[in-house]
Amino acid sequence: MNSIAQSVKPDTRETRATRRVHVRWVIMLAVASGAIVVFFPFFWMAVTSLKTSPEIQRVPLQIAPDHWLNLSNYVEVFKREPFMRYLLNSAIVAAVAAVSSVVVSSLAGFGFAKYQFPGRDVFFLAVVGILMVPFQSVVVPLYIWMNDLGLLDTYAGIVAPDLVSVFGIFLMRNAIETIPNDYIDAARIDGASELRIFFLVVLPSVKPAIATLLIIKFMWSWNEFFWPMVVISSPQMKVVTMGLMSFTNMYFIEYNLLTAAAMISILPILVIFITLQRWVVQGVVMSGLKG
């Protein structure tokens, strides 16, 4: 050991250490500047939403708004469009989708994880196989169904294809699999019915997974655009993503209004996301499913 250390130049260890510190700083700087670039559009959206229409058309461009507390665009958004209604529609649809997803997915997850019944593995593979079917490939028949059932332009129609996701079943099955069988058997010996076991033993032990699924599913539904565009036709049924599009129909888009509307549409998700980020990240990492 000693002979090797002496055979190299005495200052090597020191220069190596300082180089490592330098490298660390370079990495830190690169990561940070990348993050700032990624964050910039949010900043720009926020700043633009505080400017007046003449302000955003100034040449040369001016970064800061004249008045940092100018909220007139936000007021105008609600005046121009029934934006409250859009927010409410999105909230209803996303909440129903999230709750129904949790209920159906945890039931199915329990069935797949803890029961033996004929065809179980085939059914599970079939559910996984659904991932191969892009929603856009089934949208025409679904539209015709909704038309025949009179569900076009209704909440039921908007939320129908969104009620369960493969991701949820995966997540819940994986979570429920970790529950020791002894707990379930113990409850059975005590005479609990299977459904009672589900409610009293299974659900309480997978609370983190439930939280993850609730948040992610709410987020996905809130941000949905393609299917709402297909089923919704009347203004009062529009969801918030479609509501944003109402501000783009003019020859010159009033970006001060559009960015204010975008801020409003993003804010609820952002608040949920930032406060509960741990669960979201866990969900993404646990299964990077759904494109």
């Binding site: 830190m28 990561v31 940070a32 990348g34 993050a35 990624v38 964050f39 559009p41 720009w44 633009t48 159906v104 199915a108 329990f110 069935g111 029961y115 019944f117 004929p118 179980r120 559910v127 659904i130 191969m132 079917v133 892009p134 856009q136 490939s137 089934v138 025409v140 028949p141 679904l142 539209y143 129908a160 009620l163 369960v164 994986n174 299977e194 459904l195 987020m219 655009f225 393609f226 565009m229 297909v230 918030v240 944003l244 599009m245 888009i253 970006y255 559009l258 960015t259 975008a262 549409s265 993003i266 998700i269 979201v280 990240v281 993404v284 990492v285 646990m286 299964s287 990077g288 494109g291």
Partner: protein, 302 residues
């Protein structure tokens, strides 16, 4: 068959338990059956029928396939989609990997979390909002991008309104939205690599590049493949970003497959033609997914 009879009419607690298990998964099966399997079969069926607006169907064999697959508009849309894909998928994956490697080297948990959340933030916004913010940044006259470029002497570009720049501009939006998602997957994988591997490599005198080449990348292999496939699927189905901004323009330069499918079905109500495209999308993505299973030898399940 007898098994199923036993499930329907259980005689003892064990069979009753099997029935309970089946009943638990039944709602999900019914849902996927009616929202995916049955409509998929119908999509395939519709692609062989000419459907009049009144609902009258006429079997036309492969005529619609012939019509759609010889239509230059369709192949332009396919070409655009593939171009967008080639622009955004490799960039997203490489950048995300770089960011994850960088984040992994930051020892301060507080800072690492802060930077990570900033990269992850676009993932939480809707694609519509993301695209509209970018459209404003891309604005040829008042946009920030041209303003910023003027400082390095680049003249104003037309971005989304230019035939040549519209696809890179839209690809940039997709990259921006997806980078955080991929970073999170890579970062989690990086953090699960045991520290001893690197210590052993250090004792052997491996350089940073060698550590990356011989330890990190091989251990991330399955995540890299998975992320590539996910990005491929995501970008193949691109719609929101385009529809919110250019709606396929200028002059069809950003029309994508799903955009064309949407227009065909819900603007012109040519359900048969749209079904051919739906089948095309399904078959293509199925091939991609099967490729993934071949690569990974198992479905991506964590």
């Amino acid at each position: 068959m007898r098994q199923w009879f036993r499930i329907a009419f259980p005689r003892n607690p064990l069979e009753r338990r099997k029935r309970a298990g089946f009943l638990f998964v039944l709602p999900a099966l019914l849902f996927f059956g009616s929202v995916f399997i049955l409509p998929l079969a119908q999509s395939i069926m519709y692609s062989f029928y000419k459907i009049a607006p009144g609902g009258a169907k006429e079997f036309v064999g492969l005529r619609l396939y012939e019509k759609v697959l010889t239509d230059p508009t369709f192949w332009t849309a396919v070409g655009n989609t593939v171009q967008l894909l080639l622009l955004s998928v490799p960039t997203t994956v490489v950048l995300a990997l770089a960011v994850a490697l960088g984040l992994n080297r930051i020892t301060s948990l507080k800072w690492r979390n802060l930077w990570a959340s900033m990269y992850f933030l676009p993932f939480a916004t809707s694609l519509v909002a993301a695209a509209l913010i970018w459209q404003w940044i891309y604005d040829p006259i008042y946009g920030f991008l041209n303003y910023a470029l003027s400082f390095v002497g680049i003249p104003p570009q037309k971005w989304l309104q230019s035939l040549a720049e519209v696809r890179p501009a839209i690809a940039a939006v997709s990259i921006w939205v997806r980078i955080g998602f991929d970073t999170m997957i890579f970062l989690a994988a990086l953090q699960s690599i045991p520290e001893e591997y690197y210590e052993a490599a250090n004792i052997d005198g491996a350089s940073a590049v060698q550590r990356l080449r011989y330890i990190t990348l091989p251990l991330l292999n399955s995540q890299i493949i998975m992320v590539c496939i996910l990005e491929l699927i995501f970008n193949f189905k691109i719609f929101d970003q385009v529809y919110a901004t250019t709606q396929g323009g200028p002059a069809g330069a950003s029309q994508t497959i799903i955009g064309l499918l949407y227009d065909t079905a819900f603007k012109y109500f040519r359900f048969g033609d749209a079904s051919v495209m739906a089948v095309f999308v399904f078959v293509t993505l199925m091939l991609v997914t099967l490729l993934q299973w071949r690569f990974l030898r198992k479905p991506v399940v964590y």
